[in-house]
């Protein structure tokens, strides 16, 4: 008696579960049908990361090439002064890393480092954002919703890397409107912005703009995959990250 009842319940449960999966599957298939082509090409990872070979991109000029590509792709305005907006830029060793060394070798002393959002595993900017306008995607990218941001700039105070910029003024006044990238939105004044690891390009199966123009000096890949190129490069070189003591776990590594 007991035995048959248990079997019956098992059977009923399996049937119910099967029905749920089937119906959910069909709903999802219907929902994604429109974007299926894009998602097939999309690059995916469990945790995106970047390794920068500072021996190869270690001057203002070479980093400027990356910045130009990035800023053109994302319609980043060119504003003079300290109310400027920047996604990727060059800085010296002392500015980039909090490990001053009075007697550094000459090449390192003169080297410039490409700085950008670190897409931290424990991002303090996401923790403080009062509207979830800054959020962490399942693939580790710290992304932003420019339409939800209220411009309180709490994230800028929370970011220990100075990676965030605020649109103090109308950014479109400082853009060459003829050269706009129509694939990416411009922003309005009063919102914060920063590097987004090119989520819009990844969705189309393209690697980030700065990686594309770096001639192999920037490596981009999945940190959780031991066979990925970033992991291979990290195994082979000595790398450091910015301010590791703060526990933010940056996803951008620098080959020194």
């Amino acid at each position: 008696m007991n035995h048959t009842r248990r079997n019956f319940l098992k059977f009923a449960g399996l049937t119910a579960a099967g029905l749920c999966v089937a119906s959910a599957g069909s709903v999802m298939a219907a929902a994604t049908a429109a974007t299926e082509k894009a998602s097939e090409k999309a690059l995916q990872a469990k945790r995106w990361a970047m390794v920068i070979d500072t021996k190869r991109v270690g001057t203002k000029e070479t980093i400027d090439v990356l910045a130009k590509a990035c800023h053109a792709a994302h319609n980043v305005p060119d504003i003079p002064g300290r109310q400027n907006v920047k996604w990727i830029w060059a800085a010296g060793f002392d500015e980039a890393f909090d490990q001053p060394n009075n007697f550094m070798d000459e090449s390192l002393e003169k080297r410039e480092f490409a700085l950008l959002c670190n897409h931290c595993a424990s991002p303090s900017c996401v923790r403080v954002c009062p509207t979830q306008a800054t959020y962490q995607r399942p693939d580790g990218i710290v992304a932003m919703d420019y339409h939800r941001c209220i411009g309180c700039r709490y994230c800028m105070a929370a970011c220990p890397y100075g990676s965030r910029s605020f649109n103090f003024m109308e950014p479109r006044l400082h853009l060459d409107l003829a050269k706009l990238n129509k694939e990416f939105p411009t922003r309005m004044r009063g919102v914060v912005e920063k590097c987004n690891f090119c989520v819009e390009r990844l969705a189309k199966g393209k690697i980030p703009a700065c990686v594309e123009v770096s001639q192999g000096a920037l490596v981009f890949g999945d940190l959780s995959d031991p066979a990925s190129e970033v992991r291979k490069v990290l195994r082979e070189h000595y790398t450091i990250r910015r301010k590791p003591a703060l526990g933010t776990e940056p996803s951008v590594y620098y080959i020194i």
Partner: protein, 395 residues
Amino acid sequence: MLEKALKGSPKYYTWIGFLVLIILGASGIYIMQLMQGLTITGMSRDVSWGFYIAQFTYLVGVAASGVMIVLPYYFHHYKKFKDLVIFGEFMAIGAVVMCLGFIVVDIGQPQRMLNVVLYPTPNSILFWDMLVLNGYLILNVLVGWTCLECDRQHLPHPKWTKVLAYTSIIWAFSIHTVTAFLYQGLPGRHYWLTAILAARFLASAFCSGPAILLLVILLTEKVTTFKANVEGISTLAKIIAYAMCVNVFFFLLEVFTAFYSNIPGHMLPLVYLFKGVHGHHELVPFMWTAVALGLGSLALLIPPKLRDNMKLLPWSLAILVIATWIDKGLGLLIGGFNPNPFEEISPYWPTGKELIVSAMIYALGALVVTILFKIATEVKQETGASQKTEISSEA
């Protein structure tokens, strides 16, 4: 009771007119800020919060400080504060209104402000700050208004006001603690990243807030028939003196930790503020002024003879307010953002427009406080409580 705010002397109307004029005039600059963005301020990529948020922080302290009157009255039944309680509560209302005003003018997209409520995010301290500040405003409006109305009608205060008053005492500590948490949980901002910041905030609030309140009460005595209990005033001055001692002590704890540990990150903001770094000494004269005035206020407030001298007291309180304002309204924010994440100094100074918009908020607060104090003093006059004539007839 609101009708009491409508009938007043020509002096009263001139003052109200003056405040309204400032609010209207300055709102032109605020509209300009709305059209052009926060570029009209001195803020930058590195110093991304400035004068507005600093005033917000200082005024949260002023709002919380009413508790220094309400707590002894309710918890210790210190009756000498009876006639001051309503002013503490009304001052808190004015201060919270200014706090909210400074947040609104600081936000880049104010029309999206309700996103904080529409997408509640408990991991953000700003979300909690919004909750506690608005809660504190409601508590004070409810308790203050109801108790005053009852006084006017010679009725005992309803029991629920006592429950809310007790709640507001605990709440007052929470508003300034949460405001400190906005700062002290941020990695990489060494000047703020200290467990004692909330305690420092409270100590500085409990001296500067009552000092401002006492100054306003002394002024109220001059322009109305209200006369505060002399012993109550001298007790409040004593509380201010103790709180200022604790405030200075807490600051010295920071100095010791930074310099004895010799850790550059902890020392640099202090060095920048008091000595200057990399050729930048914008704040040095201000910080030393704060030190001089702060110690001066202690010298005038600690000896009972000087403290109880009613001619001297307003000056002692005024210099205390200036000292604490420089510390919290200038040094805290600028020192927190300097050195910036790149170990550089990014000087900040508020622009004229920024100061005009701030004047708008301060005038708004003054207007609220004036109207509320007017109502309170009128009711006291009507009921014959704490009046100058009463004292003279006794004597």
